[in-house]
């Protein structure tokens, strides 16, 4: 356990020294400042002119508008989190194996699994803090400017965190066998596959195509990240939120996808531990 803590601290220290921590903080603050500015302008417009009658007739009220803005901001934040979850850890094992840095660590009296676990926990804390800042900041800014409180925001944070954990574990597994570059390609490739699969599934619910729905389901089993986010969105979106229809169609994701994603992340992490244990360094 002591060695896990040493590796955990080393990961955090490396993030701070290599300015990854500051990069994350600046990026998150920049995102929130942009959102606050945009929302303020929109709020000013609404205060001055109100909601158009044609929009009201279609059932689009203020609450729906705020829900759309907040969830859309979280959608953008979600992209940012995925990007970070793929980019930040992709070099931690692959790079150290490639350069030979790992050798002087692996010959110490500790198990290789302790190296992986310590590093993984370090990244969990980093991504968790970053996700909390982005989700919490988005919800707080929305409430402060518009008075609208996004429902189930904690679920949104949990889902984004879970999505980050899925990518983190995949990146660790890839890092035990692939080069840094190949590992990054794997992470982004899986993200794109999940993203497209999600859209195909959503489109299938709109046009009533069982085949398309099935494709979406199969892709979510291969890479559940996107469906985790969409499941959280269905709980957070209120009224006739256009984002909901864009990403979910007429469907409502099964909540069991969250449980599946937890198991998926755990199994992938376990495979990473086994793979790292077995490989020559």
């Amino acid at each position: 356990m002591k060695s896990v803590v040493v590796m955990f601290k080393l990961t955090l220290r490396e993030a701070a020294r290599r300015k990854v921590l500051w990069g994350l903080l600046i990026l998150s603050v920049l995102f929130l400042v942009l959102y606050a500015l945009g929302l303020s302008f929109i709020q000013d417009e609404i205060a001055r002119f109100g909601v158009r009658p044609s929009a009201s007739r279609n059932g689009f009220d203020l609450k729906t508008g705020y829900s759309f803005l907040a969830t859309f901001a979280l959608y953008a934040a979600n992209f940012l989190i995925v990007l970070l979850a793929v980019l930040i850890p992709m070099d931690t094992l692959a790079g150290e194996i490639g350069s030979g840095t790992i050798q002087s660590l692996a010959v110490k009296p500790l198990r290789r699994s302790q190296i992986v676990l310590g590093k993984w926990l370090g990244f969990v804390l980093l991504l968790g803090a970053c996700t909390l800042l982005l989700v919490g900041g988005t919800v707080a800014i929305t409430a402060a400017i518009t008075g609208y409180v996004l429902p189930n925001a904690a679920l949104g944070w949990g889902a984004m965190m879970l999505e980050a954990l899925v990518f983190l574990s995949v990146s660790f597994l890839g890092g035990t066998r692939l080069s840094t570059l190949a590992n990054g390609v794997l992470g982004f490739g899986l993200f794109i596959v999940a993203f497209i699969g999600g859209f195909i599934g959503a489109f299938g619910t709109l046009i009533g195509s069982n085949a398309a729905i099935k494709i979406g389901d199969i892709v979510s089993l291969v890479m559940p990240s996107e469906m985790v986010w969409r499941a959280a969105l269905s709980e957070m979106a209120e009224g006739i939120n256009p984002l909901r229809y864009m990403l979910l169609g007429q469907g409502t994701p099964d909540a069991t996808i969250l449980i599946y994603a937890v198991i998926y992340a755990a199994v992938i992490l376990l495979l990473a531990l086994v793979s790292f244990q077995r490989r020559d360094l």
Binding site: L10, T101, Q103, S104, A106, V107, K108, P109, D280
Partner: protein, 309 residues
């Protein structure tokens, strides 16, 4: 396998896909021995060390390190290792780097505070303790790597090319440290291409080729073994045939030049007697010089000029 050796291997083999890196390694390294592990590039030296340290898994065979099967994390608490390609976390400074590795060895804070500055001083880096490793030269990295390998006061230290990046002062430092380790009873497993260094520091060397031990020699055997002797005398006016017959009692391969005699003696014990005999023959003796075969000559003789695998 017995527990009497610090390092012991039996039929150790490592294959990578279709390539055999180590074919059949049988080694025994005693406690407190300074052991030289020699062979041409690609002979399997580094792979063998990696297997012993648990960095690479053997394809077959057995090995023990400090009486424990290789790969056992507990036995590694008494092992130090300086890798051949010393790459470390270069965003740490020298002191932080050693503190990190001391923590991984399980040293408590009191011990770390004592060991880290002492070792930085021992390897001549005390003035660079707060400098980031990325600012270190190759030699400085090798020095700090050596300090890292000694943090836990190990029972056995593996040094893979420890002097490759060092200037002559650095090499002397490494030589001194190896001597200190020997005096403390630490086993040193040295892999180096600098045979002159090996000759000075090691008690015993093995030569490996194609991942198999081809020869094991105690360095004392070289000193005490067969010696080529060159004798410079005045003009050889005496009966040359009779002189040759007389010299044959001291050694073989007798060769007479105008003013020089060459012969191979089984050891050096008869050298004073040979000198007395030559003078007794009425020869003017100017010089009598024994030549040992150097480790480099032996290396070429045993391993040949061809590469390994």
């Amino acid at each position: 396998m017995s527990a009497t050796y610090t390092v012991e291997t039996s039929h150790l083999r490592k294959e990578y896909s279709r390539k055999v890196a180590v074919a059949d390694l049988d080694l025994q390294v005693g406690q407190g021995e300074v052991f030289g592990f020699l062979g041409p590039n690609g002979a399997g030296k580094t792979t063998s060390i990696k297997m012993l340290l648990g960095l690479a898994k053997p394809t077959s065979g057995e090995a023990q390190l400090l009486g424990q099967p290789i790969g056992d994390p507990q036995s590694r608490s008494r092992v130090g290792f300086l890798p051949e390609h010393f790459r470390f976390h270069d965003w740490l400074n020298g002191s932080e780097f050693l503190d990190l590795h001391a923590q991984l060895y399980g040293l408590d804070e009191t011990d770390r505070k004592e060991r880290v500055p002492a070792l930085l001083k021992r390897v001549g880096l005390e003035e660079h303790a707060t400098k980031k490793l990325r600012g270190y030269s190759k030699g400085m990295l090798q020095r700090v790597g050596l300090a890292q390998a000694l943090l836990n006061q190990p029972a056995v230290v593996f040094l893979d090319e420890p002097t490759s990046g060092l200037d002559p002062i650095g090499r002397i430092l490494v030589r001194d440290i190896i001597r200190e380790l020997r005096d403390e009873g630490t086993t040193v497993f040295l892999n180096s291409h600098l045979l002159s260094e090996v000759e000075i520091t090691c008690d015993r060397v093995v030569f490996i080729k194609h991942g198999t031990v081809v020869k094991s020699i105690a360095l004392k055997e070289i000193e005490q073994g067969a010696t080529q002797v060159e004798i410079r005398v005045g003009a050889l006016s005496a009966d040359r045939a009779e002189l040759e017959r007389g010299l044959a009692q001291f050694g073989t391969e007798v060769r007479l030049d105008t003013d020089r005699i060459h012969l191979m003696m089984p050891n050096q014990t008869a050298l004073p007697e040979l000198a007395r005999w030559l003078i007794g023959q009425g020869l003017d003796l100017y010089a009598l010089t024994p030549h040992h075969a150097s480790l480099e000559e032996m290396f070429l003789q045993i391993v040949g000029t061809g590469g390994g695998l």
